[in-house]
Symmetry: C2
Subunit: 228 residues, 2 copies
């Protein structure tokens, strides 16, 4: 009964939900699938697990091949196993979500692979159970950003308070009060205010900040806990 039975072997896939932020909206990256079945339809970025790699390795490989990006925040969040989720063959899929700075991704590679950014609110119909994956990833991202500062990974290195607020607004999908937001962020004391302004968004210009990783680490606590 408890036996290593080769009959029960299955194919394992990895699918990645890639979140980006363009100062307006939370975005997600999809590709036009280039093989059957469902060739030509929108899909998450995915691929099969190879014999000699871990799921994390596979997720990084797949993401790297598509975008050229390395060393970004990635988290595994669920494994999907409905019998008929893939009509060709029994395939189990483990999904990851990743957070990338949209300015850094390699535009050529994504275009070459028929990839396209969509607003989260305008996601198209996706193949298989990928819409479900997206929904779960979004919920997880929401919860995660409340307890960990991973959100900063979506921003350029230097950013304004306004960008940060828009980012949180688009992740949480609600409007926040400007003053309360700034007060709360400042009270956390994990940002460094630069003597430098971003002049692109207004005539007055707005101060740029950078995330202070050292200060954050020094707090060595998991209670970032940004309740918004």
């Amino acid at each position: 009964m408890n036996a290593y039975n080769p009959q029960d072997k299955v194919l394992l896939a990895v699918d990645c939900i890639i979140f980006g932020f363009d100062n307006e909206d939370l975005k997600v990256l999809f590709v036009k699938r280039d093989f059957e079945p469902e060739k030509g339809n929108w899909s998450l970025i995915g691929g099969f697990l190879k014999k000699e790699e871990t799921l994390n390795d596979a997720a990084n490989r797949i993401l790297h091949n598509l975008t050229g990006v390395n060393d970004i925040y990635m988290e595994q969040f669920y494994t999907w196993s409905n019998i008929d989720r893939d009509p060709v063959e029994r395939t189990i899929s483990t999904s990851y979500y990743a957070i990338i700075n949209i300015q850094e991704y390699n535009e050529k590679l994504t275009e070459h692979h028929n990839a396209k950014w969509f607003s989260l609110t305008e996601a198209p119909h996706l193949i298989f159970d990928h819409n479900e994956m997206l929904a779960k990833a979004t919920r997880r991202l929401r919860r995660r950003t409340s307890i960990s500062p991973i959100g900063f990974g979506l921003l350029p290195e230097k950013f304004t308070m306004r960008q940060l607020q828009k980012l949180y607004e688009s992740i949480l999908d609600k409007k926040l009060d400007k003053r309360n937001f700034v007060n709360k962020i400042k009270s956390m004391d994990i940002l460094i205010k630069l003597n430098e302004k971003d002049m692109t968004s207004s005539t007055k210009g707005s101060y740029l900040y950078i995330f202070d990783q050292e200060k954050y680490d020094a707090k060595q606590t998991n209670d970032f806990y940004l309740k918004l």
Copy 2:
């Protein structure tokens, strides 16, 4: 490159962390493994995914075979894929944690299978990466009990405030103030106080409560959020 390649098929296992509560301590159920490798060593309850079932089905089947229990709270939380995690053969394992009322589990079945409850704090060395699984499951359980009332699944139907407090104390691994705890629970308004006392724990006796599922559902909100 993106191909259905039979070479890459792997075995998929399911391992379950089963939490119970005996009015003193949070407990976890382990079994003595009865096949090679590592035969005779402590292990999580687990088994292999069969061709025609989902991971959820497999987890329920495995748990049912061992304990006779059905329809309990179970949640998938991570899939483990280190190349050498199982020395015999490449095996990926998806882990679940389950929450059961320790009084209801079928004692004969567990004894027959060499299963044994351990205090969470006294867990033995487990095979493969099972100690890691346990640690992750414990963290997940902690977070989950803060935002959802699944903890009640660990208690008998009727329970005292003191039992409930001890349960939360052992899940969160910290002492709580009796008065603050009662006030907070009462303010949630999801318990029904019975006109019945439990006389086993003191001469005075303490009131019994039951969880009011209807009231909880009626609040139809996810903000249970018990900050302790």
